[in-house]
Symmetry: C2
Subunit: 269 residues, 2 copies
């Protein structure tokens, strides 16, 4: 298991997350860039190494579509920096949340083309750095404002178009509903392209589009089934727990959250 720092985003700094992982016997961590910046990349790299943690990914690069060329260039610069940060902390991949519609645009096909071009531009740098890019398809409810790549099929198609150095992140929250999921996981696995596996749960009802994700076991996703598909496809990395939960898990004691993650990871994942 790996702890995505978003799971205790309100409670802990990166330093506290690293210490918490050691305390709870969690073998991996996936920092977000804001926490990494607060800590300092060099210091974080040293602390993570000293704690013996695997870095299952750095969250996140992406956010490519922009209303003008200057915005697109700034996004590519930022992604190059993210690649360097990911390399410095020894991350398994840089997670890409690719971005949605530029301000004022209704052209999702154009946004998707901008994403393809932006990743291609990042790949020139990330290949040299030896840092794999992981395209994370996000749930279609984020198509407008966060990611216009919304199915694993789309992500697989993009990977085939872009060539070496790019793969996918499979997050069950975003993908559980997709009737094509099993086949697309097998397709990604056959190409050696599954770079990350993220878990949480889908709550019924869900009260907020962004910040109401559930702890594994509290929702309706058949997590073992999807984990079985991912592992049958050859993925042998860590199972990363990423829970955005403004009114529940972010309000609790962080050690209780980590204890619960570990217990649920053993029993329902």
């Amino acid at each position: 298991m790996s702890l995505n720092t978003a799971t205790v985003s309100r409670q802990w700094s990166l330093e506290e997350c690293i210490a918490g992982c050691e305390r709870h016997g969690i073998g991996g961590i996936a920092p977000w860039r804001d926490k990494l910046a607060d800590c300092g990349t060099a210091k974080a790299a040293r602390l993570i190494k000293d704690a013996g943690l695997t870095v299952s990914g750095l969250c996140r690069g992406g956010m490519y579509p922009a209303a003008d060329a200057a915005g697109r260039a700034a996004a590519i610069d930022d992604n190059r920096q993210a690649v360097d940060d990911a390399a410095e902390i020894g991350a398994a991949c840089l997670i890409l949340v690719v971005g949605g519609l530029p301000q004022g645009s209704k052209d999702i096909a154009d946004a998707r083309a901008q994403v393809r071009d932006g990743i291609a531009a990042t790949l020139e740098h990330s290949r040299k750095a030896g840092m794999p890019l992981a395209i994370e398809p996000l749930h279609p409810m984020y198509a407008a404002d966060r990611a216009c790549v919304n199915t694993l099929k789309q992500a697989n198609d993009l990977c085939e178009a872009l060539g070496a150095g790019v793969g996918v992140a499979v997050d069950i929250y975003h993908l559980w509903w997709d009737p094509a999921l099993e086949g697309e996981i097998a397709r990604a696995g056959a190409a050696g392209r599954i770079l990350a596996f993220h878990v949480c749960d889908w709550l019924v009802p869900t009260t907020d589009l962004l910040l109401d994700r559930g702890m594994m076991g509290d929702g309706v996703i058949d997590i073992p089934r999807i984990r079985g598909w991912v592992e049958a496809a050859g993925f042998d990395g860590l199972c990363e727990v990423e829970i955005f939960s403004a009114n529940n898990w972010w309000t609790r004691d962080a050690d209780e959250v980590l204890r619960t993650c570990v217990e649920r990871h053993r029993t329902v994942v």
Copy 2:
């Protein structure tokens, strides 16, 4: 244009909706069953006929998956009644919101099989009544609790499996994000299977999963492009406006809402 009564759900009875359509020069109506029951089906049929309105659909049948056989049988009975009601008011189709996971289930593949079987059981009755069933794929954010048919491809596949008497409802709110949409609309059209076309808009941000739909033009959907695909595929029915909006349009004067629908239908749809 057709007025789905959900658009002024809080303000008006079916009788008031019918009178409102006449007043605003709207040529069609699509009642929900609760409003139809309040009015009485026979009376509603007479009022709609006297007003010269086309009935673009009756909302809704469906909700097939259930935890036990009694629940499934009750759903099929209810759908047969809905077919009869739709026929009595001369509806172009009965809209099916197919249902999500039964209470306690995490097996979405089984829910989808229950939907297929439930529609098949309804078809025995609806074919005799001459009432087309319109499978409405709902946005993936409703997969758990409202409809486990979430893409037009799924709906088209179901129609092919089920045979005559069943088609699809294309609602841009649910489908706008889908990279396969243009092709699947063409596929549905080639089979003469597009039975309804629903419009509203996707707001950014969306503050509620259910009740924060936007008026056409206020969101990010390229409505004319999708309407173009639907009409190029041979659909020549009414454009039905269906807006669930607890904190905006449901709080306004209903005549203002209808005036706005008519104006936006002319300018941005």
